[in-house]
């Protein structure tokens, strides 16, 4: 345990083969070497999550990254199931639930719509900062620090208009800065 990586990325993508942006992001992160990556859909293809294993993983890391494409203004279903099962009473919150206290939570999200659509006069009406409040409040209840999320808007055309490379760089810098964080 002396050489433990302090960042864990919980990656939830049900169709990695169709991914345009998330795959590039996760592959770049994997190159870093000091992050632990959990491909949630690969480990639990039947949605039957090994709660003990997941809790042990969270205990072993200081920074928890949730990386996912935005589905219906929220996480893909398996990542929600993961929250329901793993962040349980007595572990993450409630009586004796202090396992995550002091850790940092970072959401890394790709969204199909452009940034303009996520505003009071856009199609999606609400900014992401409002839509993500359930996750933010989860972090608060677990006594975790909710870091400002990394969002890639208009993810489908990010590769064609050259934004993906800057975003990857941004992601890697963030992860590297978090490496020493406690």
């Amino acid at each position: 345990m002396t050489d433990k990586t302090n960042i864990i990325i919980v990656y939830a993508h049900p169709r990695r083969d169709l991914s345009r942006a998330n795959e590039q992001l996760i592959n770049a992160a994997a190159e870093l070497g000091h992050v632990k990556i959990v491909d949630l859909y690969a480990e639990y293809p039947t949605y039957y999550i090994d709660i003990v294993q997941e809790q042990e993983r969270l205990i072993a890391h200081d920074v928890i990254v949730l990386q996912f494409p935005l589905y219906w203004y929220s996480t893909p279903a398996l990542l929600k199931e993961w929250q329901d099962q793993v962040l349980e009473y007595g572990f993450a919150y409630g009586d004796g639930g202090t396992a995550l206290a002091g850790k940092k939570l970072l959401c890394v999200i790709t969204a199909g719509g452009s940034k303009d659509t996520y505003s009071s006069n856009g199609t999606n009406n609400y900014p992401l900062s409002t839509l993500l409040t359930p996750i933010q409040q989860t972090a608060i209840l677990c006594d975790m620090e909710f870091l400002s999320p990394l969002v890639l808007y208009s993810a489908k055309c990010a590769a064609t208009d050259d934004r993906i490379d800057t975003h990857i760089q941004h992601y890697l810098t963030t992860l590297t800065n978090l490496k020493g964080a406690q």
Partner: protein, 650 residues
Amino acid sequence: MLTGLLFQAFVYLIASVITVPIAKRLGLGSVLGYLIAGVMIGPILGIVGSETEALQQFAEFGIVMMLFLVGLELEPKLLWDMRRRLLGLGGLQLGACVAAVTGVGVLLGLSWQIALIIGLIVTQSSSAIVLQTLTEKGLMKTDGGEASFATLLFQDIAVIPTLAIIPLLAMPDIIGDANIGAAGQAHETLLAALPGWARVLATFAAVGVVVCGGHFLMRPLLRFIGESKLREIFTAAALLLVIATALLMELVGLSPAFGTFLAGVVLANNEYRHELESDIAPFKGLLLGLFFITVGAGIDVTVLLSEYGVILAMVVGIIALKFTVLFGMSKLLKVSHSASWLVGLGLCQVGEFGFVLINFSTQNHALPSELGQMLSLVVALSMMLTPFLFIAYDKFIMKPEHDSDVRDADNIDDIGNVIIAGHGRFGQVVNRLLLAMGYKTVVLDHQSSVVDDMRRFGIRTFFGDASRPDLLIAAGLSDAKILIVAIDDVERSVEIVKFARRERPDLHIIARARNRVHVYTLYQAGASDIVRETFDSAMRAGRYALTALGEHPFQAERVSSLYTKFDRKALAQMAPFYSDDGTLANEAGFKNALEEYKVNLTDAIALLQGEKHARGEKGWTPPPRSFYERQTMNNPQDDSENSKPYPAEF
């Protein structure tokens, strides 16, 4: 008489058993091993002598068998895809080589007829050495391997017209001093008495018999024989097939090697292909080995010593000339650089058909016998040099490009590397799923009725007992990605897994297990994934029962998932207490593990059913009421919570 025969067999066998493994270990390859064995027992120790010539004719049948096996590997479609190379590379190099050698011969003062015959003889490369070596080195499917094969095949086919041309080149002055009556007698075929058009007709008819017979007749015939379940009769049938084809070809004056190759291609789609392959392969191996030994043993030391200058010059000259032509033509036809070197270095010897053509030419008085003797030596020596040229290729050419070369070949077959042993109720389902996803599978089953049924539905299935190692090898074990052992015979499935694991430490093996003890033995044998054949279905039945008893379907699902997980974990924990024959090796350890398992499982299910909160396998349950009561008491803090700044807009 018997003692003499036994002694001879003893000498040949012991020479190869000693020399070949040593040569292989030293990286010289098996062909050179056999050649050295031949030189040892022939010219050096003098144990065998002139009888090698008779033996050689017999051993040449190994080449015929080899081409049959090559044909079996080559579906008609592949052959058609090869046509450009076959005609282009094969035809060009043949023409250029004959022209070059003939030219040099004439310049050296030979008559044009003799020069042409020598040209035709030395064009022939050695299929026996080259194919054997390429297979051994795993180069058959590389670019260079395919180009070599195309060239060799064209040369083999070219033997047929060559045999027709040679008698026309006979020299009156050579015939003069021989007994004219015997000329060509040995090679007169049954058709000699027929008029020309009938002969052509008969030739086409023979090819038609091979193609149609192979296509329509062999399947029911082999099934009938396969159903008798007599292994040796199937082997006999396989041998009969090859021999009958060769005989038919001889009768109409075609090359037996070409005929059996054709038969092989016709049978390449047949479900008995792997069975035939593994039956013929040992005979081919032994006969080819014998052939190489006779080449080594047949070196005539007296001629070699008296004429060594001329002979060595001829060997070097011919090898250099052939290399230049082969390398140049490959380059011309845009074969890759390293592949061109492989074709050039690999095929620059004179092959076994050289002996056949030399004998034929001297018998037809187209070649003076002293020259024939010297040429025989040249052929033998050039064959003996070939393994060294392959070693040179390995050392100097292959290194830099090798990786990419081999990987290219891999990608082509990437999807096709699943072997399924057993195509009963279990293997079928697995196979259909893989096929539906577009993966190619090779399926083996030992019941011909199963094989036939599958064929009717268009599923490629091969007949054969998958527990036979040679058959697994023939099915492509050496480059398979996954082996699925789906047969229901407990002992044989363990045998298959053991053998496959020994051959391929990196192979992913999925095995079907009958019961727990079978799981343990399969685990010891080295299976990667072990599936109990009835466990999953029993679990589903249990789930239906729970639902029918009033449990919520989702709860039933979770209990059965939990149960499955515990059960599999326990199996893995208990497996080490068994020895590899399925008996309990450590009873105390096993009992402890079993007790622990029972306790854990009971606890887990109790937790799952109750609302009690504790760490363990339980999944979501509502937090206790006290939690919510405290929350309402925290109201005053809510304002401060709300006043927490949200992260800046993102």
